[in-house]
């Protein structure tokens, strides 16, 4: 469970201070698919970074499964990111010197007891449809393939929460649809998803939808498709956590 308790993130001081996130207050329950919409510069990526513990709030607190990540030590926070969260960057964020398979395995390097291993990585690459490109370097992959590898990487340590920053932003319509289908399947499999996007067409995918404007968060009604297809229901896919 993610509890965001009135957080504010301010960049700069005095007259030049900018409240990128201004008193955001919401809760994400286990199994939720939360969508945060907003234009560029509205503060949604900052909010996501706050939830992921990449930056600390100026005010307020964020609790991940009861742990206040605003005050947690760097080591504790890093462990939480590696073990509990999967992060999908906006532009895939693959390391160019590693193959797709090795990129997927990167989060396992940060944990002594990482649940991920080579077999699971291959399974996940298969799950996202790029098993055949396991030994290819990112420079030889298409945008869609890179995004799939990044999703497989986010899932390698069997995280409870998947955080995605505009994961379909740079993809064509077909690939976007495929990626979103994949996210829905993951959500049905029990993974909590918090996704930032500027695309309102994705609203039907979510259980909770928020719109961000100038750092302020407003709840938006979820789409009808979500209510007829509740998350956490019968799973049509698993993430390979039994591998």
């Amino acid at each position: 469970m993610i509890e965001v308790r009135g957080i504010r993130k301010t960049f700069g001081t005095g007259d030049s201070a900018v409240h990128a996130v201004d008193h955001a207050l919401f809760t994400v329950d286990d199994g939720d698919f939360t969508l945060i919409l907003g234009r560029s510069g509205s503060g949604k990526s900052t909010l996501l970074a706050l939830i992921a513990g990449l930056i600390r709030p100026t005010e307020g607190s964020i609790l991940i499964n009861g742990t206040d990540i605003g005050t947690a030590a760097d080591t504790r926070m890093a462990h939480l990111r590696a073990r509990t969260m999967g992060f999908v960057f906006q532009f895939s964020g693959l390391i160019p010197t590693l193959t797709a398979l090795e990129n997927v395995l990167v989060p396992t390097l940060f944990l002594r007891d990482a649940p991920g291993n080579r077999e699971r990585a291959m399974f996940l690459l298969g799950k996202v449809g790029v098993a055949g490109r396991a030994h290819a370097y990112p420079g030889t992959l298409s945008s869609g393939e890179m995004k799939r590898v990044a999703i497989a990487r986010a899932l390698i340590n069997d995280p409870a929460i998947l955080i995605a920053d505009e994961p379909t932003g740079d993809l064509d319509t077909d690939t976007e649809a495929e990626i979103m289908a994949l996210f829905r399947e993951l959500n049905r499999g029990g993974i909590t998803i918090v996704m930032v996007t500027h695309n309102p067409d994705l609203i039907p995918c979510a259980t909770n939808v928020y719109r961000m404007e100038r750092g302020t968060l407003k709840k938006v009604p979820a789409g009808p498709a979500c209510s007829s297809n509740p998350p956490g229901g019968p799973a049509s896919v698993n993430t390979g956590d039994r591998v």
């Binding site: 990526s45 900052t46 970074a49 992921a52 990449l54 930056i55 760097d74 080591t75 890093a78 462990h79 990111r81 590696a82 073990r83 969260m85 992060f87 960057f89 906006q90 532009f91 964020g93 693959l94 390391i95 010197t97 590693l98 090795e102 990167v106 989060p107 396992t108 390097l109 940060f110 944990l111 002594r112 990487r153 340590n157």
Partner: protein, 405 residues
């Protein structure tokens, strides 16, 4: 406590180094030069000292008394095996033997042989001993009871050609090789032939008829007196007393020989140590700059790692691990190359520098390797530490936004 396995650090570090081969090779080569210079200097110093110890232990003497004007020749004869012939009044021997602090004294004759000996490329040093007083060859004979040194028998140094039992001719006189000393690395021993004084006189007497050039050994003269100091006596004090009582003599001591060797090695050692220090002094800030550039260039990668769950310590240690691997690879290459070169050309270097030389003991070699490894590795860590700490503390969110990740 470290929360991540080391294997991950090594895997990423290894990949990063391999991915930039030109830079990796250039930096590693610099550290190879540092390590090679350090190792070579220590190896040569250690080999020279070891050789001097071996040789002087074989001689069994604390002091060698020679005519003052031949002190340099005497040192050269011992250190480089360059043959020399000189004599001084035997009267000195009796006086020296009676000086307090002198446990034993042994007269010796130094005779340089002629060119064209079967055993050797050039003239060698013939050392004639007095079996009644000698403690150099006699102690060796005690260790090798099967060897008997009778009339016209010689004991040869390890570098003298000829099988035991075969004959060698000097000044037309035929000698019989009775035994061979172990290698010491001290040319004055390894390239010497030991005979008895009475056989040397016979050889000199016959040389007028049998040799191309007549050898004259004035009766009642010696070339040197080897002195073993009594336990508890100070060799320096005894040598001073000897030079007082027997004017015109000079005492060559262990410390003096070590000093001469150190002096001869000084230029080479200074050059090697100096170059290692200069390269290190230049490399640390240079590597620091390279590390800053690399850290800047890899901000995107480190931000991704942080976003995926790497702690600050992981990122910091990743940079330091790369530095350690790089410097280790360079240092190992440098030491390996230097070791091969020194093993192949050690004797040639020793001859060129006019120093005694033998392979140092394993412990000494390992110590030299350790020092030659440590300096580059520590330098590498020092140079990388600041950029590593800086990049690990960088705010990943800012980098992610700036880099458009």
């Amino acid at each position: 406590m470290r929360e991540y396995p080391l294997s991950g650090l090594f895997m990423l570090a290894d990949r990063n180094l391999r991915n930039r081969p030109a830079r990796t090779i250039a930096v590693a080569a610099t550290f190879a030069v540092i390590a090679a210079s350090l190792f070579s200097a220590q190896y040569l110093m250690s080999g020279a000292r070891q050789s001097l110890d071996n040789g002087l232990n074989r001689m069994g003497a604390d002091l060698m008394i020679v005519p003052a004007e031949y002190a340099t020749s005497g040192e050269d004869a011992l250190l480089t095996g360059r043959p020399t012939t000189f004599f001084f009044q035997d009267g000195g021997f009796e006086t020296i033997a009676d000086i307090p602090g002198v446990a034993r004294a042994s007269p010796e004759l130094f005779i340089g042989t002629l060119y064209g000996q079967a055993c050797c490329a050039g003239p060698i040093q013939l050392i004639a001993i007095d079996p009644a007083h000698d403690f150099t060859i006699s102690s060796w004979l005690k260790e090798n009871p099967s060897v008997i040194m009778g009339k016209d028998d010689i004991i040869v140094g390890s570098a003298i050609a000829g099988d035991i039992g075969s004959d060698l001719r000097f000044y037309g006189h035929t000698f019989h090789i009775a035994g061979r000393l172990d290698r010491t690395g001290l040319s004055g021993v390894d390239m010497a032939v030991f005979t008895r004084i009475e056989d040397a006189y016979t050889m000199a007497d016959e040389s007028g008829i049998k040799a191309a050039r007549k050898l004259s050994i004035p009766k009642g003269m010696v070339s040197a007196v080897l002195v073993r100091v009594s336990p508890g006596s100070d060799p320096q004090t005894v040598s001073g007393e000897i030079m007082n009582r027997v004017p015109g003599t000079k005492a060559i001591s262990r410390a003096g020989l070590s000093g001469t060797v150190s002096e001869r090695l000084k230029t080479t050692a200074s050059l090697l140590y100096g170059s290692a220090l200069v390269v290190t002094a230049v490399t640390i800030p240079l590597l620091g700059c390279v590390a800053v550039l690399i850290a800047s260039e890899r901000r995107r990668e480190t931000a991704i790692l942080r976003g995926l769950g790497a702690s600050q310590s992981f990122v910091r240690n990743l940079f330091i691990t790369e530095s350690v691997l790089l410097t280790l690879a360079g240092a190992c290459t440098g030491i390996g190359t230097a070791a091969l070169f020194l093993v192949a050309f050690g004797d040639f270097i020793a001859i060129s520098l006019k120093i005694p030389f033998t392979m140092p003991p394993a412990g000494s070699i390992l110590t030299s390797m350790g020092v030659a490894l440590c300096l580059p590795v520590i330098s590498g860590i020092i140079a990388t530490l600041y950029p590593a700490v800086q990049v690990s503390r960088a705010d990943p969110y800012t980098v992610i936004r700036e880099a458009g990740i």
